[in-house]
């Protein structure tokens, strides 16, 4: 099965990349652009007994390596 892990900077952590993209979009004439946040999407193939096991493993991977919980939050889903 396939897991999708989405990693985003936590609210309150400055995201200069998102800020720059927001500026650029406004500069290109897109109106009404509010806050822009940039994150990562990690897709991974996994052999697991069932969905629950896969999700639990994904959570552990995210906590241990895929996200830095000091600055990032994450969400693990089945694709």
């Amino acid at each position: 099965m396939k897991l999708v892990v989405t990693v985003m900077l936590k609210n309150g952590v400055l995201d200069p990349q998102g800020k720059a993209i927001g500026h650029a979009l406004t500069g290109l004439g897109f109106e009404g652009v509010g806050e822009v946040r940039v994150g990562k999407r990690i897709e991974l193939e996994l052999n697991a007994a069932d969905d629950a096991t896969a999700l639990a493993q994904g959570e552990e991977m995210a906590r241990k390596l895929l996200a830095n919980t000091v600055i990032e939050s994450f969400k693990v889903e089945l694709a």
Binding site: P16, A20, L65, N68, V70, I71
Partner: protein, 227 residues
């Protein structure tokens, strides 16, 4: 002083660090491969700069999971000296050995230029040969050196004297302009509560020779050699 430099795949300032350590201690440090698991007989462990694992995922994230890390933690727990410079600092924060994180520079560009650091705590084995408040010059070379921690952590670091260096002007003022990468409270280097683990972004090891533009970094290594 028996020093070891940990070689993670992709780091690239291990030679610079070895030159500085050799100059100060009189003998070459031991190079330790990241897959090794012991640090027997070592007084100082250095995690050098570079791009461990290509800085893919997050700077230092994968190196922080290396087989050598438990030995480094045990060394620190025994009160051993540990210094992480640039990527080494990022690895130490990713490993949870120092608080906070290093984010992308606020200007979103790699910064390679000399910066000035104000010594905030001169009562450590790393900084003993400087004066508190002294301004030293050091090259910086990083894309992700923007120090971040929550306010509580920052207050604690400041309250306990665990800020080692701040970005400053040549005359020692802390200004926004001198804080090139946008670090919280201009923090360039921090210490562990027992003052035995140091992480810093700039490269004192690249300023230990007048021929390369100065020796402002040398006292740090001389202090370590005497520790």
């Amino acid at each position: 002083m028996r020093a070891a430099i940990v070689v993670f795949p992709g780091i690239n300032r291990e030679r610079d660090m070895a030159i500085a350590l050799t100059l100060a201690t009189g003998h070459a440090p031991r190079m330790v491969w990241h897959k090794d698991t012991t640090l027997d007989g070592i007084d100082l462990v250095v995690l050098p700069g570079g791009f461990s694992h290509g800085d893919y995922l997050r700077c230092g994230a994968m190196a922080a999971q290396s087989p050598i890390m438990p030995a480094i933690r045990a060394h620190a727990a025994r009160g051993g000296l540990v210094m992480g410079v640039c990527n080494g600092f990022q690895i130490l924060t990713e490993a949870g050995m120092l608080p906070g994180a290093l984010l992308r520079n606020s200007g979103l560009r790699f910064l390679s230029q000399d910066c000035h650091l104000r010594v905030e705590n001169a009562a450590t084995d790393f900084t003993r040969h400087y004066q508190k408040g002294q301004v030293i010059r050091a090259p910086m070379a990083h894309g992700d050196g923007n120090y971040f921690a929550d306010d509580e952590t920052l207050d604690r670091l400041e309250g306990e004297g665990l800020v080692a260096f701040r970005y400053a002007t040549t005359s020692g003022e802390i200004t926004q302009a001198a804080n090139l990468n946008g670090s919280q409270r201009s923090i360039a280097g921090i210490l562990s509560p027992n003052l035995r683990v140091l992480g810093l972004m700039p490269h004192p090891e690249d300023l230990v020779d007048t021929l390369m533009g100065g020796t402002d970094g040398l006292p740090l290594f001389q202090a370590l050699a005497a520790a």
